[in-house]
Each structure stands twice: as structure tokens, then as C-alpha cells.
């Protein structure tokens, strides 16, 4: 009894004594889309680094940018990058760095239907509420041999302002002019008023609501659907090929990305035959001028870690590792962190 107690006390003393070298704490908030990956990164990074702790709160891209503008956090994360207006509101004090990428999947709950193909002409109309039943002829035509039930479609969307919504609606608006004219593209859009449209908070809220509601369809980041085992639909891309998420389709789609001066790029409708239609980069936003040089150094270390070890972790968690060319550009841009504006 006694030796183990002494051992525990010693271990505790060592654990408490170790990080006394430098105590730097970085706090961030934002996107829930990459949150599972970021949680893994920050835990690993905090364990390896010398007294740097990173705390991240997954509360939605919109909320992260608000926190960044209100100077509540050291860095933010967003799937919708940051608009020019928001960069101006931050006084230009923002370095946008794509950190990882992911796919947005259309999840559904149809007991007995293990695989579902959704044509390009169909899924925007489901989200517009113009296709209302699962046994609609246009869905059935793409799924020969699948017994589609005669149940109404319940659409589940995000109730909060979200980068996932931004990427989905940007894609739907690019595909369907009626969607562009109606809800349009944005982090929070006016969805059509319908008895069959339910809003739930965050990626996990949408996943839970879809899983609880037979006949529901919703959208989340690929990792959430993979983690919970929710069935995902294969989507038809611009070239007319049905592609499932989770393969190399996302990386192929993003290979065509052209970054602007702020390192932003959105691929709303990729051309490649192998491309998965809805894929996006996701960004971290760091300040250019940081009062505390130790904090700035910690931020640069964090980015370096994410670009090296972090990318390897991305794939196993269902994210798309950044292409090598993008990693080099991000490494260059990361030098601006703490360099003053």
C-alpha cells in the first residue's frame, strides 16, 4: 500500500514540476467541422511542446470569427475562411491559413436502405423542399433495385451560423439556379418554410436528429458521419459520375483550388470525373501582431506541427491531408504570424 502511494506522490510531483519552463496558453474557438481533428492535434501538441497548452472550443465558424473580432481568443477556426468585411473589421490583423480539408456528406435515415445515389438534379431540390417523398420517380430512377419507402423527406439543417452550411449552400447554388435565387449561399441562409424542415445545432446535433428521425436527410462533415456510422449518399458530380465520400474524391476536387492573396479558395463545383462534389479547406485565423512574443512563437510552432505531424493524423480521422504545394504556401504565410502588420 505504502510504496504505491509514495510512487503516486512522486509521479504527481514530477508531473507538476515539468511544465514550469514556460507557461504559454493559446485559446481558440470556431468551426465544429474540424473539431475532432483539432482536439487530437492540440492534445498531442500540448503534450510534446514545452509548456504550451492549446484550448479549443468548438462553437461554430461564425462564433469563432465573432470571438476573434472581439479579441476573446488568440486564434479562430472557420470553414468559410473570413470575408473581406470581417478582415477589415479586424483591422487587417488576420493571417488565414488553410489547415486541413474535408468533405461534406449528405446523410440520411432510411431503415433498410444501405446505399443511396442522389443525382445532381435531385439533391438541391430535396434541400429546396420541392422533392418531398423518398419514392419520388427522380430518386427511384437513379437507384434501380432499391426499395425506396413512401415516406416524406424531413430535411435537417443547421440552426446556428455554420461553415458547413456555407460550403453546402455554395455548392447547391452553383448547381441549381433555383437554389441560388432562393436560399442562396451563406453561413446561415433563409431555408424554405416547410413543415418538413427541422433545424438542429452543430454537426453533432444534425447527426443526432437525422439518426432519430426516420425519413430524414441532413448534411455534416464526413468525419462525424463516419464516427457515428450514419449512412451517406453517393452524390453525382459535374462529370455525371456518382462518387462516395471518404475516398480520394475530396483531394481530387481540391487539387483544382486557386488561392487568392488571403489564402482563400473555394471549389464550389469541381469538374474532374473522380471528384467528390462538396469538399472544402478549413482555415485557422491568427493575428499578424501579437503583444506577447512567446505566444507568437507558440502559434508558429503550432502551425509547423499541424503541417508536419498533423497532416498524417488527418487522414485517419476522415479529413483530407493538404497537397504538398499548399503546405509549402501555408508554411510561407505562417511567417506573418506575430510579424506585425
Amino acid at each position: 500500500m505504502r510504496p504505491s502511494f509514495v510512487g503516486a506522490a512522486l509521479a504527481l510531483a514530477v508531473a507538476l514540476g515539468a511544465p514550469a519552463v514556460a507557461d504559454t496558453r493559446l485559446t481558440g474557438s470556431g468551426a465544429s467541422f474540424p473539431a475532432p481533428l483539432y482536439a487530437a492535434w492540440f492534445k498531442d501538441f500540448s503534450a510534446r511542446s514545452d509548456g504550451v497548452t492549446v484550448d479549443y472550443q468548438s462553437k461554430g465558424s461564425g462564433a469563432g470569427i465573432q470571438d476573434y473580432l472581439n479579441r476573446v481568443v488568440d486564434f479562430a477556426a472557420s470553414d468559410a475562411a473570413m470575408t473581406d468585411a470581417d478582415i477589415a473589421r479586424a483591422g487587417g490583423n488576420a493571417v488565414l491559413l488553410p489547415m486541413t480539408a474535408g468533405e461534406i456528406v449528405v446523410i440520411y435515415n432510411l431503415p433498410g436502405v444501405a446505399a443511396l445515389k442522389l443525382p445532381r438534379a435531385v439533391y438541391p431540390e430535396i434541400f429546396l423542399g420541392t422533392i418531398t417523398r423518398w419514392n419520388d420517380a427522380r430518386i427511384a430512377a437513379a437507384n434501380p433495385g432499391v426499395a425506396l419507402p413512401d415516406t416524406p423527406i424531413t430535411v435537417v439543417v443547421r440552426s446556428d451560423s455554420s461553415g458547413t452550411t456555407f460550403n453546402l449552400t455554395s455548392h447547391l447554388a452553383a448547381v441549381d439556379p433555383a437554389f441560388a435565387a432562393g436560399p442562396g449561399a451563406g453561413t446561415s441562409v433563409p431555408w424554405p418554410a416547410s413543415d418538413r424542415l427541422v433545424k438542429a445545432p452543430k454537426n453533432d446535433g444534425v447527426t443526432a436528429t437525422v439518426m432519430q428521425t426516420p425519413g430524414a436527410v441532413g448534411y455534416t462533415e464526413y468525419g462525424y458521419a463516419k464516427l457515428t456510422g450514419t449512412p451517406m449518399a453517393e452524390l453525382e458530380n459535374r462529370a455525371g459520375v456518382f462518387v462516395a465520400a471518404g475516398g480520394k474524391g475530396g483531394a481530387v476536387a481540391l487539387a483544382a483550388a486557386r488561392f487568392d492573396a488571403e489564402m482563400r479558395a473555394f471549389v464550389t463545383d469541381p469538374d474532374d470525373t473522380e471528384a467528390y462534389p462538396i469538399a472544402t479547406f478549413t482555415w485557422m485565423i491568427f493575428p499578424k501582431s501579437v503583444a506577447d512574443p512567446e505566444k507568437a512563437a507558440a502559434m508558429r510552432q503550432l502551425v509547423a506541427y499541424a503541417l508536419d505531424e498533423g497532416q498524417a493524423m488527418a487522414e485517419s480521422l476522415g479529413y483530407i491531408p493538404l497537397p504538398a504545394a499548399v503546405i509549402e504556401r501555408v508554411r510561407g504565410a505562417a511567417a506573418k504570424i506575430g510579424a506585425g502588420s
Binding site: 433563409p190 416547410s194 413543415d195 418538413r196 433545424k199
Partner: protein
Amino acid sequence: MKRVEPAEAGSRPVFRPPSAGEVVADRIFHAGAHAAGVVVVGLLFGIVAKIGLGAWPAVRQLGLGFLGSAVWDPGRGEFGVLAEIWGTLYSSCLALAIASVLGVAVAIFLTQGFLDDRLAAVFRTAIEMLAAIPSVVFGLWGITVVIPALRPVAAALHAHLGWLPPFATAFSGPSLAPGVVVLAIMVLPTVAAISQDALRRVPDRTREAAFGLGATRSEAITRVMLPAAASGILASLVLGFGRALGETMALAMLIGNSGRISWSVFAPANTLASLLASQFPEASGTETAALMYAATVLLAISLGVNVVGTLVMACNRKAG
């Protein structure tokens, strides 16, 4: 402070003016109590003023049209809370209708001699325990238990009574109905507790007189006890209504958060409180002001309801 010992009573008068120390202690207590009272009232006015000031830009920009429009679109800068006001009042009224029947029935059961006193105390505690369950737990329970349980009931109601507006749409899951069921359970302790007090405050002689005139127990309850306790029961309903109006978390999880106006209880809806909870974290600029405006509307509705409740209670006390 020096205590007057009995032995000294002979040498000193028993009744003496308070010592300087006692006067000071009394003054301090007085001032402290006064200050605490002022702080509480000041806090209420402070909250109203802060929210009102935050809402002012939206009030000026959107005016009363805010109350008459059902569009909430931060992208286009259009804001209106008609659908949320409707959802708040509709859900609270339905929940209160269920809770009033259950609550008053429970109050009668526990006060009119159906149970012996110790068993009644156990029941009372159990009902009051409902008030201690956190809202999130109610929400989770609603998602995992109430929604699946309602599914067959709702399907039958929609199939056979679909011509009635409340059952006009098919049930999909998160909607007004599960919200109302959970809300009714959350309001139940308030209604039951105050109704019991009201029934217990009716003098025993009243009931005995009714029995003396040959009334049966059910006649005594419905014809004599309930009318005598009516104003107290009414107050319990008003206070329960106030509680239902402000409930946030459980409803935000169950109601579907969709801002539209519908008579159907199987359609998703939204309330003012859940609108605030879901939109506030990422709001900026005009949307923040619009949310403050929505909070002001909610505050006005619930303050109004609580004032009515307090007045009814006061009248009741005067009459009793």
C-alpha cells in the same frame, strides 16, 4: 452589548433604552436589509435598461414591423419575431392546458383526504423533485423517449383527424408536440404546489359544512372546494405560464427551431427563448440588436404575465 442578568434586575430597571451598541447594530441591520432590497430591484431595472439599450438600434431601424414579420435572415438584414412570438404563446398555452388538468388533479388528490398524510408528503416531494431536474436532461429525455413514443400516436391522429388544423401535418420528429409534452411536465410542479396551497388554505369548516348539507365528497370538491380556491389555482396557472414562456434549453432541443406559423402541433416551430439561445453566440451588428429586441419582447411578455399572477395572488390573499 451587555446582557441584563436576572440578578442585576433589581439594581437596574428591566425596561431601559437600548444601549448605543444595540442602536448601531440595529441601524447596520436596517441599512443592510435596505441595501439588499434596493440591489434586487436595481438589478431588475439594470437588466431591463441594458437589454433595452442594446435593443434600441433595432427598435429604431425595424420599428413595430419587427413584431409583425416572420422572416429571420441575417444575410439580408431582415428580422422579425412574429413566428417566435406565436410559437412561444402557442406552446406555453398548450403546455399549460395539460399541466393545469394534471396539476389541479394532483392537488385535489393530495389535499382532499384521499391519502394519509405521510403518503401524501411522499407524493408531494416526488412532484417537487421534477422541478429540480435540469432542463437539458428533460431535452435529452424528450429526444430519446418522448419523440419515439409520440410517433405512433401522432401517425394515428394525423391519419384519422388530419382535417383538424392541429393535426394537419405528418409528424417528423422535432416539432411542437414533444416540446409541449416536456414543457407541461416542467410546469407541473409549479401548478401543483401552488394549487395545493390554495386548496389547503380553504378552512376545514367550509368542507365540513358542505358535508353537513349532505354533499358527497366529489360534490364537496367540485362545488365548494374548487370555487373557494379558484383564485389561488388561477394564480398557479399564471405563474406556470410565466415559467413556460421562458423555458429555453429543452425546447431548443425538441421544437425544431424553424420560424414558421402553423396551427399544426406536428410541425416544427420556434420560441423566443430558443431563438436567442441558438442565434446569439454568432450574432453581430444589427442581428445582436434584433436579438436584444426579441429579448425585450420576451421580457415584456413574461413580466406582464408575472405581474398578473402576483395581482391574482394578492387578491386571493385579501379574499382568504
